[in-house]
């Protein structure tokens, strides 16, 4: 049992903790920062180059359940996102290759604040389990209110030809009812 095991997504086995400040940890942090800045700058094609071609990208629903049933608070049947590499690339194509992706045109102004990063090895050589917190602020049009999307990312990053790629992302959101009108943005 490692320190972060209780945070892991159901299908990712976690091994040794990767020490904060180690080279590997810093590489992961560099990846997450670069990814956040590409998404916030709406450089979606560059962002998509960070994705492994066997990517699985999911965002479960949440339900309000009693303390004793917290496992049931995460719903992985119907989800908010249930995508693979191909469908994510389809979404990127809609956003970048059409003139009518109105949900993000004009685009939201976003900040992805990624913190509380914990890294561990997995049973698979070259793959890392990365748990981080995400606070995404979203501003649209002339509304002074920010939509807040908060959650925990449970990622698997993989070294491919010396570069880290995102192979698995599950985002455990905190809201049972989302306070933003759509997820036309990536988390």
């Amino acid at each position: 049992m490692t320190a972060t095991q209780h945070l892991s997504s159901a299908d990712v086995q976690q091994g040794e903790v990767v020490a904060i400040g180690s080279d590997t940890y810093n590489q992961v942090l560099g990846f997450l920062y670069r990814e956040a800045s590409l998404l916030d700058a709406i450089s979606l094609k560059e962002w998509s180059a960070l994705l492994a071609t066997d990517l699985v990208y999911t965002v479960p629903l949440r339900q309000t359940r009693p303390m004793a049933q917290q496992a049931a608070s995460i719903i992985r049947t119907v989800q908010h996102y249930h995508d693979d590499y191909r469908s994510i690339m389809g979404r990127v194509m809609r956003l970048t290759g059409t003139k009518s992706a109105w949900a993000e045109d004009p685009p939201s102004r976003t900040r992805r604040l990624v913190t509380n990063v914990q890294v561990s090895t997995t049973g698979v050589e070259g793959e890392l389990a990365v748990v981080s917190y995400l606070l995404l602020t979203r501003s649209r049009f002339d509304s002074p209110d920010l939509d807040l999307i908060s959650g925990e990312r449970r990622d698997v990053l993989r070294y491919v030809a010396g570069e880290l790629k995102l192979a698995r992302r599950e985002v455990i959101l905190d809201q049972a009812v989302l306070g933003t009108p759509n997820l036309a943005i990536f988390l």
């Binding site: 359940r65 009693p66 979404r91 009518s100 049972a176 009108p181 759509n182 997820l183 036309a184």
Partner: protein, 463 residues
């Protein structure tokens, strides 16, 4: 007396919100608090409301918490499998009895003073029974949770507070013949593929409600991207393909505000078979393109459960999208795939009012119970990718409605009007077997207009 009830505080009469001659609706209807409050009684208090599907609560004592208009309700399965809908308000001191989204319990106990209720809403007891904390002035029978009138239709749970009003069948009216094609066609019926997605849109519920009443035109512009990339797009066309061929079909409405867009399947069947659809029999068309969630093995079920006339509509001009008054959208859509095949999807949305400028979008994804697991999985994923929270089609809708709602608050904007002046000059196609107000051709505004007329009728408390 009735006259004064139909005048708003500033002297505007509800009658005048809708201009029948010119088919206009005053935009203040989308933002006004007073109108909203009246709607909660006159529209939501007198309509059958969608709460979910019985497969969400398959076992005795299962429950989900949902909304009927502005009221929270507990939808629970009690003894003998019966489903009960109880106002989620403790009759003692008004605490919300269940603060959860879902679960299983034989007793719903209020955490404030401990009054306890059965899944059927019956008052069981208060703590320290011998001290009779609930007093002796009212009997236990009188202290139960307020019960709504419940019906199941194709397993879908509907409820109303109007105990003396129309039956669910009467409520569906002419539209029932068509809804049966969708909801009553298989032996075992539909099932949910999981709990619903839920998210808030800062828009009046009617922006979504009136669009659900079969707004065809918005597809051309708001969903234009469908012609620009992906499987509807035709290569070589500058600026994307023309979606207008998808706008032809038959539109059906009823005086009860329900609406259906029946879209011609001919082009899809021609593409799949290479044959002229007019030359094909009903059986051949069913084989070529079975409806959403239905496999070829399941086709005998359709023939058992539907009439010949209903089958004829299903294979040629099936209802694909539309609304159940007041706040439900249904979609039984046929989505072209990259490999040339077609995948059918089945969805239900409820647009729950959360104040004059906010709605909760509740999205259920369904399949037939008999749909094979691999097909269910495909339907589930593509439904998530195209509809609901992150859906590439509906994310454009939920970004549009808030602007209308804000506009309807302006001093001039609230006096502007929504216009429904594209009027059908055709009528039903020759030999059309179904009832209702039926028109064929390029989409028009009639179905949405009939939605507003029914809203108006309820708001005037005429029914």
């Amino acid at each position: 007396m009735k006259q004064t009830r139909n005048v708003l505080a500033d002297g505007t009469s509800i009658e005048d919100l809708v201009k029948v001659d010119t088919r206009e609706v005053q935009m203040r209807a989308l933002s006004d608090h007073e109108i909203y409050n009246l709607e909660m009684d006159r529209v939501f208090g007198h309509s059958w409301l969608l709460l979910g599907h019985e497969t969400e609560i398959p076992n005795e004592n299962d429950f989900v918490v949902r909304d009927m208009g502005s009221d929270s309700v507990i939808v629970a399965r009690g003894k003998n499998g019966q489903i009960h809908v109880s106002l989620n308000v403790c009759p003692h001191r008004g605490m919300k009895v269940s603060t959860l989204d879902a679960g299983n319990t034989p007793i719903h106990k209020c955490i404030y003073h401990g009054w306890a209720f059965r899944p059927n809403g019956d008052f069981l007891a208060s703590p320290v029974e011998k001290e009779c904390m609930h007093g002796k002035m009212m009997s236990k029978v009188e202290l139960g949770l307020e019960q709504a009138r419940v019906t199941l239709y194709g397993g879908i749970i509907f409820a109303t507070w109007d105990h003396e009003g129309p039956s669910f069948e009467e409520f569906l009216g002419d539209a029932k013949w068509y809804f049966d094609i969708l909801f009553q066609r298989s032996d075992k019926g539909l099932e949910v593929l999981g709990p619903p997605q839920r998210f808030i849109v800062r828009a009046n519920w009617k922006t979504a409600g009136e669009q659900s009443a079969a707004d065809g035109f918005h597809t051309l512009t708001l969903h234009r991207w469908l012609g620009e990339v992906g499987n509807y797009a035709k290569s070589g066309e500058e600026g994307g393909a023309d979606l207008s061929p998808e706008m032809y079909g038959v539109e059906v409405s009823s005086s009860n505000g329900h609406a259906l867009r029946c879209i011609d399947l001919g082009r899809k069947i021609r593409k799949l078979t290479g044959l002229d659809p007019d030359e094909l029999s009903v059986d051949q068309k069913l084989e070529a393109l079975p409806p959403p969630g239905v496999t070829r093995e399941m086709l005998p079920q359709l023939k058992r459960n539907l009439s010949k006339d209903q089958l004829k509509v299903l294979v040629s001009m099936p209802p694909q999208v539309g609304g159940i008054f007041p706040n439900v959208l249904f979609a039984f859509v046929y989505i072209p795939q990259a490999d040339g095949s077609v995948l059918g999807l089945t969805l239900l949305h409820a647009y729950v009012p959360k104040g004059p400028d906010q709605l909760e979008f509740v999205n259920w994804i369904l399949a037939e119970k008999d749909t094979p697991p691999e097909l269910k999985e495909k339907m589930l994923r593509q439904s998530i990718q195209l509809f609901g929270t992150s859906g590439m089609v509906e994310q454009d809708d939920s970004d549009t409605w808030p602007h209308m709602t804000v506009a309807a608050r302006g001093a001039r904007g609230r006096k502007s009007t929504l216009k429904y002046q594209a009027v059908y000059e055709t009528s039903k196609p020759a030999g059309w077997p179904g009832p209702g107000i039926v028109n064929e051709g390029f989409t028009k505004d009639d179905t949405q207009w009939h939605w507003w007329l029914h809203w108006h009728e309820l708001m005037l408390a005429k029914v």
